[in-house]
């Protein structure tokens, strides 16, 4: 293991290098570029033995990854924002084809207006496409998720593509000290990919076919079952990861001071660090604050959220996303989980960070203040509390 001072994108690239995908296909887009530049350099230097395919669009990046995955080899791609949406047709295709492709998405705002900075409207708009979605908090978790994502996605009982999300610039371009595992450790943790869902010259296959009304539901149920089983796969993979690397992860969510919390903030991604500081500070002043970080959006941690929130007086979802005409996508999902579990608690939705707008410590304190006042509904941070 060695300690390196690297960016989130570089950390992710190192994780990918340790996973040694046979085929990488990618098209550049800010702020994803440095991850594919880093991998290109590794290929050029001969430290990574991958076929790097310089495709002409994100749609082709994912088509190419699917083609490669259909031969039964490990694949990687990365994108962001407009690129993710440009390849959107291919996302349910990869999930329906049960191709365990790993993709890094650098979370970035979606035009219009044009904006290259971070928010999570890109990936959250694709929640329903059948991919596992994880959200990293820091560079170390980014690298670790690169390795764990392959282990989870490629399990035969899962066979589902995996999107790892890193907040654009906040995480992709900030530097941290990261432990880079040894090749031996990585190989011990991550077995070679093997599947029967592949082109085979001894027993030829017809793949990616049509299935009409009689059979379609069976395939969709299969897909749902696969991604649902990834709940268990995440837990088991994190145990294996702990055994090899000594770092512990906490499943689909991560709790901070939630056990006795009256006011729980739910969020995801890199903003969690600042939220944790605020919770810590509020605790010192006697406020029973807690933070629940969603590490995964699919599979959705409905049980974990319900269990954590069951005793709270109020809940606020802070997210860099808005499903126009309703509320934040994370909020909508959280409310559905609470409703299904029969938990009746006031819920507040704070929309912030759109197009990279700063979310300050004060904004987070305000969220806890609003919870304490029993406020509910939706508010856009920094816009005078307007939720329209």
């Amino acid at each position: 293991m060695n300690h390196s001072f690297i960016s989130g994108n570089e950390a992710f690239a190192h994780g990918v290098m340790l996973a040694s995908p046979a085929v990488i296909s990618a098209y550049p887009i800010t702020p994803q570029t440095t991850v594919v530049e880093c991998l290109s350099q590794m290929v050029a230097d001969g430290v990574l033995d991958s076929e790097f395919i310089y495709v002409e669009s994100e749609h082709s990046a994912m088509s190419c990854a699917m083609g490669a995955s259909s031969t039964g080899v490990r694949t990687f791609t990365a994108t962001s924002s407009q690129g993710l949406l440009y390849m959107a047709e291919c996302l349910p295709y990869a999930a329906g084809g049960r191709f365990p492709i790993v993709m890094m998405n650098a979370n970035r705002s979606v035009a219009l207006p044009w904006n290259i900075y971070g928010d999570q409207r890109d990936s959250l708009s694709q929640l329903d496409c059948g991919w596992i979605q994880a959200y990293a908090q820091d560079a170390q978790e980014s690298l670790d998720l690169a390795l764990m994502s392959y282990r989870i996605a490629e399990r035969r009982d899962v066979s589902t593509p995996f999107m790892v999300n890193l907040d654009g610039f906040h995480l992709t371009h900030t530097y941290e000290v990261v432990d880079i595992p040894d090749r031996e450790q990585a190989d011990e943790f991550l077995p070679p990919y093997s599947t029967e869902n592949r082109i085979d010259f001894d027993t030829p296959r017809n793949l990616c076919f049509s299935a009409g009304p009689d059979h379609n539901t069976a395939f969709k149920l299969s897909e749902h079952a696969g991604i649902s089983r990834s709940r268990k796969a995440v837990a088991e993979t994190e145990e294996e990861f702990l055994a090899v690397f000594g770092r512990r992860y906490t499943g689909l969510t991560e709790e901070y001071m939630c056990a006795d919390a009256e006011f729980i903030l739910i969020t995801l991604g890199s903003i969690s660090g600042l939220c944790r500081d605020v919770v810590c500070s509020l605790r010192k002043s006697g406020v029973k604050a807690g933070l629940l970080r969603l590490r995964y959006m699919r599979p959705f941690p409905a049980e974990e959220i319900s269990r954590t929130v069951a005793g709270a007086k109020s809940v606020c979802v802070l997210e860099k996303d808005i499903s126009f005409g309703f509320a934040g996508t994370v909020f909508i999902n959280v409310c559905a989980a609470l409703q299904n579990a029969g938990i009746c608690v006031p819920t507040l939705n704070k929309i912030g960070g759109l197009g990279g707008r700063d979310i300050t410590e004060e904004d987070i304190r305000d969220a806890f203040g609003d919870m304490a006042e029993g406020k509910t509904g939706i508010g856009f941070i920094g816009m005078g509390g307007s939720g329209v």
Partner: protein, 303 residues
């Protein structure tokens, strides 16, 4: 190169039991190419007629490895398959794509151009039936001038398609592709020879095969081959190769006068006036003038 013939070609059928319309030119193009390429061909077909008729689970009509790609992603999925098979250490395989005219010249042209640029080792076959036949005969950029389609209907103001066929063969050649050819299901031995030739050249290959659609063209199924041949004989669909940076005509124009029969016999052209047909003839003549000036022509040493 051993010229493939009816006698030496495999008796294996790789595309069989499909639900294509009776007399479908596209299905003949797929069937014959796979017979030439053999069991180690991996076929990629985008959304379109041939995937719609060949992959309806559980009726799966390819005996070899075959898959459907997204409509726009034929060439890029082929690239991935090729890279994956190479990475897993396979040898002696052929990656072949079969996309229609819309899948090639419209929605798939970006991915096709990228694959030619990378010079990936594979064969892309465009089976051209001159409209979006799978969705009910809508105009594509390979629909010929004057043709009536469901989106270029004949009305009081506009009478059929007002644009001509995009010149895919020369667009592809302009990339500097190692091998490109035009072919015609009506001249099947020539097509077989071109597929075989493509399979023996490394890098990217493109074959554009005219494949009449009786349903969309308004001809009887049993006339499919006859009309295919007429398209070439009357000079509207020249058969040629682009090889080593040079254009070479595969056969000369047959009988320019049969253009009128070719047009008049098809329901999609039935509304065309003598003046319209004259326009088609003059476009053909201009093209042949260009061909005569710059392409190698059989029986002539120099252009």
């Amino acid at each position: 190169m051993i010229r493939p013939t009816a006698r030496n070609i495999t008796e294996d059928e790789y595309f069989f039991g499909h639900k294509a319309c009776a007399g479908c030119g596209g299905s003949l193009a797929v069937r014959i190419a796979l017979k030439v390429l053999g069991e180690r061909a991996v076929a990629v077909l985008p959304a379109g007629c041939m995937s719609a008729v060949g992959f309806n689970f559980p009726q799966l009509c390819f005996a070899n490895n075959a898959m459907i790609s997204t409509f726009a992603g034929t060439a890029s999925m082929m690239t991935g398959v090729e890279a994956g098979l190479r990475a897993r250490g396979e040898r002696d395989y052929q990656i072949v794509g079969f996309a229609g005219d819309g899948g090639t010249a419209d929605i798939g042209i970006q991915a096709l151009s990228g694959a030619i640029d990378r010079n990936d080792d594979m064969i892309y076959i465009c089976y051209d039936n001159e409209a979006y036949m799978n969705t009910g005969t809508q105009k594509s950029s390979l629909t010929p001038f004057g043709a009536s389609t469901t989106t270029t209907p004949v009305g009081g103001k506009i009478r059929g398609n007002v644009s001509g066929k995009k010149n895919m063969f020369e667009i592809v050649a302009a990339h500097g592709i190692p091998y490109a050819a035009t072919a015609n299901v009506g001249y099947i031995e020539d097509y077989m020879m071109k597929v075989r030739k493509a399979s023996e050249i490394r890098g990217m290959k493109y074959i554009h095969v005219l494949a009449p659609c009786p349903t969309g063209w308004g001809i009887r199924p049993e006339e499919m081959i006859e009309y295919a041949r007429m398209a070439t004989d009357c000079g509207l669909w020249p058969l040629a190769e682009y090889d080593g940076g040079e254009f070479r005509l595969s056969r000369g124009m047959g009988d320019p006068s049969i253009l009128r029969n070719y047009i008049k016999g098809q329901k999609r052209f039935r509304h065309l006036s003598d003046q319209d047909i004259g326009h088609i003839e003059s476009m053909r003549d201009a093209r042949w003038e260009k061909i005569g000036g710059s392409w190698k022509v059989p029986g002539r040493d120099r252009p």
